[in-house]
């Protein structure tokens, strides 16, 4: 399904009869003796936007990297539209095409122009002809206000522009699911809004997204569901209203209290 078609589809979470976009079951991951994820269970319906909040080191980024198969998991399963992507013989390159990820530090390719950054994967992975890849990339760049940056190199762009290019690069593969790993944490405060607006637009267009974020205001606005991670487990989840206004767990209350004291909510 292309983004344009998705625009037409009503962004209605959990359409009846539809398979969940993602099912994570009892996911565990350790780095040496340090168990970072200690049994995560999480289901995302199609068109759902789920925000992961929690202190640094609570496992948000690791969870996203596991879903993208950038980390090998130790136990549990991850199903993407019913397919077990953590099965032993699965083709990781094929899975990753369907799951886009945007990183905190952008990770654009510094030796390529903006256009080449965006078209590399469509050309090399999807074997799309260059003209078509260029045309589609140009259209996406235009849509996100980057049309005039096509020929620039990443180092010439602001952080906000670089992060928007990184989002466009992920979108160019027409992923079914987008993972966002603290994508505004490396940005100057005045550049955060332009990136978050892009995500809001994607949410309106019905993109399924799993978002690790420290931007509580943004999470409250955009999320259909918020999950509070603590020490490698999802301690509490619910609607933004439930989590931010009526948290039931003391740990969640504590975390939000600290956020409020830091002036971040």
């Amino acid at each position: 399904m292309s983004l344009e078609e998705r625009d037409l589809a009503p962004p209605e979470a959990g359409s009846p009869g539809g398979r969940p976009a993602i099912v994570i079951q009892q996911l565990r991951k350790s780095f040496g003796a340090n168990e970072v994820l200690r049994g995560i269970d999480l289901t995302l319906e199609e068109h759902e936007v789920v925000c992961l909040i929690g202190a640094s080191g609570s496992g948000k980024s690791t969870l996203l990297r596991c879903v993208n198969l950038l980390e090998e998991i130790d136990a549990g399963r991850i199903l993407v539209e019913g397919e077990d992507i953590t099965a032993p013989k699965v083709d990781v390159n094929r899975i990753r095409r369907r799951i886009g990820i945007v990183f905190q530090a952008f990770n654009l390719f510094p030796h390529m122009s903006v256009l080449d950054n965006v078209t590399l994967a469509p050309r090399k992975v999807l074997k799309m002809p260059s003209e078509q890849a260029d045309a589609e990339a140009t259209e996406l760049l235009r849509r996100f206000g980057l049309a005039d940056k096509r020929t620039e190199f990443p180092e010439r762009l602001s952080g906000g522009q670089q992060q928007r290019v990184a989002i466009v690069r992920a979108l160019a593969m027409q992923p079914d699911l987008l993972l966002l790993d603290e994508i505004t944490s490396a940005l100057d405060p005045e550049l955060v809004a332009e990136v978050l607006n892009v995500i809001r637009e994607l949410a309106r267009a019905g993109m399924t997204m799993l978002i690790a974020t420290h931007e509580m205001g943004f999470a409250r606005d955009i999320a259909s569901r918020v999950c509070f991670l603590d020490a490698g487990v999802i301690l509490e989840q619910g609607t933004p209203d439930q989590i931010f206004n009526h948290p039931s767990e003391p740990r969640t209350q504590q975390f939000l209290q600290r956020i409020i004291e830091a002036g971040r909510l």
Binding site: G100, N107, F109
Partner: protein, 294 residues
Amino acid sequence: MSGFGGIGPPDQGDLVSYSPGGPLYARQQQSAVRSTFVALASTFVFFTILAWVVVHAPGWPQVQKSFFDGSLFVSSLPDIAAAFLVNVQLFLISEALILVLALVVAILRSVPGPVLYPVRLLATIYVDVFRAIPGVLVIYILGFGIPGLGLAGVPNDPFFYAVVALTLVYSAYVSEVYRAGIESVHPSQEAAARSLGLSRFQAMRFVILPQAIRRVVPPLLNDFIGLQKDTVLVSYIGVVEIFRQSQITEAANFNFTPYMATALVFLVFTIPLARLTDYLVSRDRASQAAGGFR
């Protein structure tokens, strides 16, 4: 105009006087001219003294006759320059092979995973062995040893073994240069490429290597300066190249002047490459300081 009398960077008040044609600008120009003059003068004095010491040494007349025979220099130069073409061939063929072989070795050493452990081990042994043995020994062992086996179909041409030996020795060094470049590319670049669905090979080919190679061009050129000079080592297995040719001319005339001609040829060809390398290094440093891509 507070800084008017001072030397060094102007402060705010000097902006007007610092503009081209302004008095401070003129002052700095003047000081640059002066330091260039001092540098030239001290260099001149140093070499004049050195030359004086050499030509007043007790053995100088003898050395002058056997190393600086002007007419022999002129008459030996054409043969020596012609023989240098053999070095150029050696250098160019080996260099092309080294660029490829070293890259393959570097990539093999960089592949993770337990399955490829034997491959990594072999590549590591190769690099260790050929960096440990002096190049001239490798040239001897291959150049005399392999034809000596008398196997059918094995070439006898010393030029062939010269190329093989230089390629094996230098690829070991150059593969380390490549590997340093590959490892200098941050792992997040591979993660980004793989996350888009690129295979490990595609990530290496399109994302990591282009950045790695750009970074290692100066050290690569440095190794090639070494290779250019080490082509004379193959004279030991009977390739008539520039050094062998100068030995022949020397023996025919009982005079060392041909070696001076050879040295001159190398100076002419190597110094531009050395300057280019330095230029590239300083350009890299400048672009890094300016926040360019690393």
